[in-house]
């Protein structure tokens, strides 16, 4: 009997193309868009040399060294600047106004900077000038204290910079908030899976649909039929999630850390979470399929929004100002579970989120059970 119901529920569910679209095709398409939007961020190639100009003050002792340094910074493959030679300050002013340069330096005893915006490019220019200033002061000081020291050697040394900082990973992987978008997307797909759960309850509760009434008149234990149907829904949703994970990992090269088994376990937990959520809502809200769909959609969208799927900083805002909300949002828990697997070495964070998810699943399932176990209805 289990097999019969399972097979037919499977056929029935999988042929609902609209649902397959929302739970699988849509997340895949959205992931592709995410990928296109984000895959350039974080990469060094994204840096374009800054257009700058220099206006020389006319004092050779100051102009010459600055010219040497800035020309050096405007050469080669990894150049910082695109240098434009300005013959006069009014030239540079004109360029700046038209937006052809991000700013210009004026050389002299202290190098000055003229800009009109305060952005990343201007900040880099300022850092460059700061660095030049302090290095020159240091050289001057040394030359002053040791007039005998070799100036050539000194200048060579200042150009020959050492690297005093190295990056170490805080754990397995570096924090990468782009990944959160993809993890939140999987969570969203799991919660769209709530529609499958909704269908199962709809087709087993005689007070919701006539088909369910028909099943209720058959010599089949109601819970057995419900469990068989839910198993079919779970197999479909879980398979979709595995395919989605595979697409993200192998086609889009989204990292999930190196604990594949746990990633799959998380996907399974997420699928159960989504299904049971849909089942509960469907069991509580008796009439009106439209109302149920609206509730599930809105809950999924709000949950995803609060987990940072549309806007990443949302997650940090919540972690900072209303941390308990992060624990009460099942979509966020699922997102965090994936992130914890990717990011943390220890599993304690992961176990905590999974534990919380299990509590939610228990809640949803118990609630559904208490409603679905009734086999006589007060009204149809």
């Amino acid at each position: 009997m289990f097999r019969h119901v399972f097979v037919y529920r499977f056929k029935y569910l999988i042929r609902d193309r609209e649902l397959v679209f929302w739970t699988f095709v849509f997340p895949v398409i959205l992931a592709s868009f995410f990928y296109m939007a984000f895959f350039n961020i974080n990469k060094d190639e994204a840096f374009h040399p800054i257009n700058v100009a220099v206006v020389y003050g006319g004092e050779e002792q100051y102009d010459a060294p600055f010219k040497a340094v800035i020309e050096d910074a405007s050469k080669g493959k990894d150049k910082l600047f695109n240098l434009k030679d300005a013959t006069s300050q009014s030239d540079a002013e004109q360029w700046l106004k038209k937006g052809r340069i991000a700013g210009y330096f004026t050389s002299g005893e202290t190098v000055k900077l003229t800009i009109k915006d305060s952005e990343l490019e201007q900040s880099i220019m300022k850092s460059f000038a700061d660095q030049y200033r302090s290095s020159r002061l240091a050289v001057q000081r040394i030359a002053q204290d040791h007039p005998d020291s070799l100036k050539e050697e000194l200048l060579k040394d200042i150009g020959n910079r050492g690297n005093y900082v190295k990056e170490t990973a805080g754990g397995n992987s570096e924090p990468d908030s782009m990944l959160n978008y993809f993890y939140a997307l999987i969570a969203m797909a799991c919660f769209y899976g709530s529609f499958w759960g909704m269908k199962e309850v709809t087709d087993i509760q005689a007070d919701i649909s006539d088909r369910a009434a028909r099943v209720n008149t058959a010599p089949v234990h109601k819970l057995l039929a419900f469990i068989a149907g839910s198993a079919a829904a779970l197999v479909i949703l879980f398979t979709e999630m595995l395919l989605l994970l595979a697409y993200l990992n192998f086609a889009l090269h989204i990292s999930f850390g190196n604990r594949a088994g746990l990633v799959i376990l998380t996907a399974l937990t997420g699928s159960v979470l989504g299904l049971s959520f849909g089942a509960l809502i469907s069991a509580i809200v008796k009439k009106g399929a439209g109302m149920k769909v609206a509730i599930l959609t809105v809950a999924t969208m709000i949950g995803s929004f609060l987990s940072g799927m549309m806007y990443m900083d949302m997650k940090y805002l919540i972690a900072r100002y209303v941390p308990f909300l992060a624990w009460l949002n099942p979509v966020n828990l699922l997102t965090d579970a994936f992130y914890a697997l990717y990011y943390y070495d220890s599993l304690s964070h992961y176990v905590r989120t999974m534990g919380m998810m299990c509590i939610f699943i228990l809640l949803f399932c118990t609630g559904t059970y208490l409603i679905v176990r009734r086999r006589k209805y007060a009204g149809l």
């Binding site: 296109m36 305060s118 040394i142 900082v165 570096e174 990468d176 809105v298 940090y316």
Partner: protein
Amino acid sequence: MPVFNLCLKIFRRNWLAVFIYVAIFVAISVTIAITSVHDQSSGNGFTQQKAKIAFISEEKTPLTEGFRQELAKHADFVSIPDSKEQLQDALFFRQVTYVLRIPKGFTKNILDGGTMQIEKTIVPESVENAYIDIDVQQYWNLARLYVRHDPGLTQEQLTERLRQNLDGDTPVRMNVHEHAKTKDSFSMYYFNFLSYALSAILIMGISTVMIVFNKQDLRRRIFCSPSSPLKVNLQIILADLLFAAVALVALVGFCFLLDAKSFTTPNMPYFLVNAVAFTACITSLSFLVGNLLNNLSAMSGVCNILTLGPSFISGVFVPQEFLNDTVLKIASFTPTYWYVQANTKIAKLTDFDWQNLRPVFTSTLILLTFTAAFAALSLVVGKRKRLME
């Protein structure tokens, strides 16, 4: 005008779905307004963003203390217990973007001319970190310079020298009058975001009406009535335009509520013109979608993809300067791309002469070309559909 009234009735029936979009949209906009736009009014001068760092030193020497003070210029220190999990948490939730660790014996190693390194763990994409790196490198490179060329210095003397050298600031002159008030302002982000909400609402609303009217029986019934097809179509178009106008006014109205200041800038009329052109474009796109599709459930899928897709690849959610060139090339086949282009250009405008306005108008013109193309296509599709029945 019975057809016109019916259209309005259908729009009203769909208020819930529209409301959801508006609510999500306004929520996102407000969050962005709170977080990502730095206050322009206070910043008439030059401001550098400070990075939040966790400074962990395994030794305490005059040199490392001096270093700490130098760093304080460009960084806010956040104290976090030195445990792996807690540091990871801090990075994860962006309490800090940079964890810096000076290993034991670092000072001595540097003074001996060694090559020991400070360890950092960072949130990769945060730009503020770059300045910290620059500061770190500069401080210890200068220290090395002194060690090599003035080996007689004591550690305290060296620290003092470095403090003197690094003191002071590059004078920065801001040509404030040339700075466009709307650049990177809330309004620019808002108008970019508007394209998402507007396309979602319009495609959903208008194509719903079109699908209802394209139902075979209903259309036949209408065309059997004693009103000419032209009149019927004109009424539908009129209702759609009214819906589009109301949606536009409502969304722009929110912008006025959230950032009234921008409405006094000379840039605002151009934003509005651009938004109107975009609205026209999406309206005709919705017409096309409505003519191509037959059922409402397929419509909501198509609507989502048509609105989210271009928004992602055209720089609505992620600014265009961060997008890959190939992606942008693909995006340039969507009207959203040109709308965002025009917005970004408008936001930067300070001179409103022809030379500066031309690129803006070019983008707007392309939008209008899209509008005409969609309109023509939907006429062709609509006609073919009617003939095929």
